[in-house]
């Protein structure tokens, strides 16, 4: 059994209490521990990518209990990729928080960050539906803390909405899990994949109900219309480093849809086969349209970035919802790209709002410090987010459009994705030209001199975007292999249910 699979969960789970208990009063040590843990996590993630690339999915049996009775973690190409994305973002966020001094504005930033990373890695690696719920809760509880970090009345009010919406989502998750358990008698995803197809007619109805409730939960996490309403207020009110980390949280919803609706409700599921397909494409297209209109209509840069995240989730889910191998690869590529682009944009919102007298309001204001540099950053990130060449967002959208070719809804998808991109380009151009070119009045003296470290962190995020574009060939190759793995669920089932315990292997 390969013990490295559990390492991305164990490492942050150990570092977080260490930071809270032992390093509580020493911010420098907290920063060192947090950055070291994030760097370690990145190393682990790269190692896992190499291991996952070798071949079939690998299962890890916790406590050596045989599946499906014990808890399993499963490593395949998709989960390794998501862990790597999380680790990259985690390292950037830890660096940004330390460099910009955000971690001094409240307590326990680094501990919460580590708990959030633990929840994210766990959600990506688990092979069990109930543990998916538990890891969702871990990452949500940490995200509540991160969202409210620094306090303030507006943030608290927005936080209440965010928490109540997610509590309702968690309740729905439990209802869904309960219905699925009642229908099949198991919550192990591989075992569910086997049993979903052979359910009796009566149980199959219950299973479908559970499956669609689960889709509602994942849609809430992924901010799909009509469950997107919480995102713009919550992310706009969150501190910049937290919001940048939250860019990967919406992707947890997309990942879960990819995993559950290809593995459990895939081709083999009998009457529940491709359960989500009918619902996802219309929801994704409406999400994209709503996000694009929001980008055009936003009065603050923070809200504009939030709506662009909603729009990008629309594109991702359009790729996911086609449920073909090519569309899954396209969705994965766009997912990785839009996560990095959204994180960079959230950091840019902070760069802008602390340099201008009018904050991030899209209205004329005096010249800001480092105006050219921040404006350049904004342009690159906006190009990435809107999906213009030469950056990878263009490639991602092109791949989604290309994958949609065989679908009956192809004209709808092409029309909405292309029009949405155009509207987003107009929205970003309008915001950028007002923010960086319409300079009015004398530079104010009242603003304190901003630190330089956040500029480096933002630059690093944009460099990662550029790297993703330059190495798009190998990356898409990996993602096509991941998508092929996703559409061969039998290998996953064999890996989990065929996994031998150490005790069984020790016997002659």
């Amino acid at each position: 059994m390969n013990h490295w699979i559990i390492a991305p969960i164990v490492l942050p789970a150990l570092v977080a209490p260490l930071i809270v208990l032992a390093l509580r009063y020493d911010l420098l040590l907290q920063r060192v521990a947090s950055l070291a843990a994030c760097a370690g996590l990145l190393g682990l993630a790269v190692g896992l990518i190499a291991m996952a690339g070798e071949g079939p999915p690998q299962a890890y049996l916790l406590g050596d209990w045989p599946a499906p009775f014990g808890i399993v973690l499963v490593l395949d190409r998709l989960s390794a990729m998501m862990v790597l994305l999380t680790a990259l973002l985690g390292l950037g966020v830890a660096g940004y928080a330390a460099g910009s001094g955000w971690d001094t504005r409240g307590r326990h930033f680094h501990a919460l960050l580590q708990f959030q990373l633990m929840g994210l890695c766990g959600a990506f690696l688990t092979g069990d539906l109930f543990n998916l719920f538990v890891f969702f809760e871990v990452l949500l509880i940490a995200s509540y803390g991160l969202m409210l970090h620094g306090g303030g009345a507006a943030r608290l009010k927005a936080g209440v909405h965010y928490i109540v919406a997610n509590l309702a989502g968690s309740t729905l998750f439990l209802f869904a899990v309960g219905a699925i358990y009642a229908a099949t008698g198991t919550l192990n995803m591989a075992d569910l994949a086997v049993k979903a197809g052979s359910a009796t007619a009566e149980n199959a109805d219950l299973l479908r109900v559970g499956g669609l409730l689960l889709l509602a939960v994942f849609a809430l996490k992924a901010a799909l219309v009509p469950l997107h309403f919480w995102l713009p207020t919550a992310y706009a009110a969150a501190p910049a480093p937290s919001a940048a980390l939250f860019a990967v949280m919406t992707k947890v919803g997309a990942y879960s849809v990819l995993r559950v609706y290809t593995l459990i409700f895939g081709a083999e599921a009998g009457s529940s086969a491709w359960l989500a397909a009918d619902w996802l494409i219309p929801a994704a297209l409406v999400t994209l349209a709503v996000g694009a209109v929001g980008v055009l209509g936003a009065r603050r840069l923070g809200a504009l970035v939030c709506f662009s995240v909603v729009a990008s989730m629309g594109t991702v889910m359009a790729g996911v919802g086609l449920f073909t191998e090519r569309s899954a690869a396209a969705a994965m590529f766009y997912m990785a790209h839009s996560t990095l682009a959204a994180a960079a944009l959230f950091l840019i919102v902070e760069l802008v709002s602390e340099r201008r007298t009018r904050g991030d309001r899209i209205a004329p204001a005096p010249q800001m410090r480092h105006g050219e540099l921040v404006g350049g950053f904004f342009m690159v990130a906006a190009i990435a987010m809107a999906g213009l060449p030469p950056l990878g967002g263009f490639l991602g959208k092109l791949m989604v459009l290309d994958a949609a070719r065989a679908d009956p809804a192809v004209w709808w998808i092409w029309a909405v994705v292309l029009t949405g991109s155009l509207v987003m380009v107009v929205g970003f151009a309008r915001a950028g030209s007002v923010l960086f070119w319409r300079v009015e009045g004398e530079p104010a003296e009242g603003l304190s001199k901003p630190a330089n470290a956040p500029l480096w962190a933002t630059g690093a995020a944009l460099a990662a975007l550029a790297a993703l574009t330059v190495w798009a060939g190998p990356v898409t190759g990996y993602m096509e292999a991941a998508a092929a793995q996703l559409h061969a669920p039998q290998d996953y089932v064999d890996a989990v249910l065929g996994a031998q315990t150490v005790a069984a292997r020790a016997l002659p």
Binding site: L167, S170, G178
Partner: protein, 111 residues
Amino acid sequence: MELLVATAIGALTASGVYLILRLRSFPVVIGTAMLSYAVNTFLFATGRLAVNQPPILGASAAGVVDPIPQALVLTAIVISFGMTALIVMLMLRAYLETSDDAVNLDPEDRP
């Protein structure tokens, strides 16, 4: 008994949803608690309802009740209890900082 449990779950869910949609923070907290009661009862029922059955298979037992939902409910109770504590604290902070327990946002805070 099925009717009783089903009605209880339905009533708890309905009142929970109604209370969550209120504009004051106290009903919202009670609403989330109601919803978590409803879901915990529901999880119990997923292992099929049985009275006076042991959760452990033994030679002398006439039958058994599924133990997994009980373990799931235990986890769900712990999590929902923690969440209720968190949201109470948060609502209190929001009330103390804004001296107003309304849940809706001010118009200028909207994006």
